[in-house]
Amino acid sequence: MRHTTTIIIGAGQAGLAMSHCLTEQNIDHVVLERGQVANSWRTERWDSLRLLSPNWQSRLPGYTYQGSDPDGFRTLDETIQFFDGYSSQINAPIETETGVLGVEPYGDDYLVRTTQGDWLCRSVVIATGCMSTPNIPAFARDLTSDIRTLSSKAYRNPEQIEEGGVLVVGPSASGIQIAQELQSAGRNVTLSVGEHVRLPRTYRGLDILKLMDLAGVFDHTIHDVDDLNRVRRLPSMQLIGSPTRDTISLNSLQTSGVEIVGRSMGARDNCVQLSGSLSNVCQLADLKMNRLLRTLDGWIDQSDVREICLEAYDLAPTRMPETPCLSLDLKDRGIKTIIWATGFRPDYSWLNVPVLDGRGRLRHDGGIVSAPGLYAMGLSFMRKRKSNFIDGVADDARALSLHLNAYLSAAAAQAA
């Protein structure tokens, strides 16, 4: 059995940032990675993917974008290179190809069982991300086997998808990007739309994420919001990172020929039943987007940025089909494939510490998990709105590494 002070599980942005902060505080640690650095970027994304956040928005502790195109959007390869560069610069002590099988209390320590042997440590940082397991609706099992179904995690490119129509379920970042790519490749795409977060790529001449960053929106903390559960469950922003800074929206998708329908609620005899709430979810998204844009207007008018901004303007409301479809007969419509872009949830099946609530979520206070010496990183709105962004892990890693250091000192003092 090997020993170290802290084990970080996962070598993505969250794990690497934490490794850097622990190194700065001389805390002996090891990062366990089931594959290679940035594994999910390497193995669980589609080929054409670009990050939806601009290059500048990757301010990791001790590392950031240095190139000549700060407003551009990284391709998948560039993203992987970026994390490889970070990992070597900070000299992170990573054990790759090491899957964690279990974590359990062991006296005052934790026993971490892996595919490469056991470890004993004082504290554990869970940096496995919030995108482990796709949320596939329960009715998926009612579909017959001639319908091919896959999650957005398994989607790679249009060539992979059988000829014929495609139903993309879920209108957030992955769903709308995949729908657009397949429609452009000549497929007939139907997009099933539940609640979503509509945003234009640019507003008043500036990138929307730049504006939100400048206005401090991403720095809102868990104490600034009324309903933490709600904001933690918010779907990803309807954005795409493209060299031409395109806005992708339900309007742009409909213009390119995608049919939008209501949320998928059930399936019977290969007929997918759709909700009649399409109008409501589109209105909610339009209203929330407009509220954000007016907030940004208020901020712009008070700041120097107004010098370089265009005048305020309204965006067109989401266009509704005249009679939204209420059931999709997959055979009649020639739909051969369903792609679930219905979000993800973390997988803690390996965590043998009683820290999960009734719904399988980690009980934590801003990443400080409810068991001594156990920490989380990279969860949705964990400490701030940006916590699950590449750009958000720096603040959290700094704050939690200080807490972790204090915990270790207190534990050592008690032992002495």
Binding site: G262, Q273, S275, G276, S277, N280, Q283, L284, N290, T323
Partner: protein, 188 residues
Amino acid sequence: MQTETTNTTKNGVNVDALLQAREILEGAPQAADFIWKASSEWKGGVHTRTEMNGFFGLGEEHKRKQTFVSETDHPEVFAAPDSAATPVELILSGLAGCLVAGVASVAENRGIQLNSVTATLEGDMNLYGILGIDSGTRNGFSAIRVKFDIDADASEEDIKAVVAQSQKRSAVFDIITNPTNVFVDVAC
């Protein structure tokens, strides 16, 4: 879980009690399972009388302060005496009751004073369905339209947001817009 109604409300909705209930139920999932009940009796012709008194929730049976009654009948063009509203009109009434309650609650929670709220509802139905003339026509509504007219101390955008949120949290809106399994049995 009973809480004194505070007199600081704007619209007469005790939002504090609702928020408190949400917190309590989050820690007691079984208490959140409710069963709503109604029992009805045929009154001859196409006239039915339905009584509602009692529901299950918070782990026990509840009685109401009184037995509530709704009557349903059909209009003269359906060769009926028109002694009460049709069942489908009660569906519209249920949707209106639910959405308006939602508007009042959401407005209360957002500190918006409502001065008046009216809603007009229309449900489109083609009789080819229920008369069995065309199997491709559904029996029920092909569309429902709700028109709200709201006077409140708030901007137009804020009022629209309250109405949108009330749909998002409405039981009847969900019952109507989404499929529900219905099990009908006959006592032997």
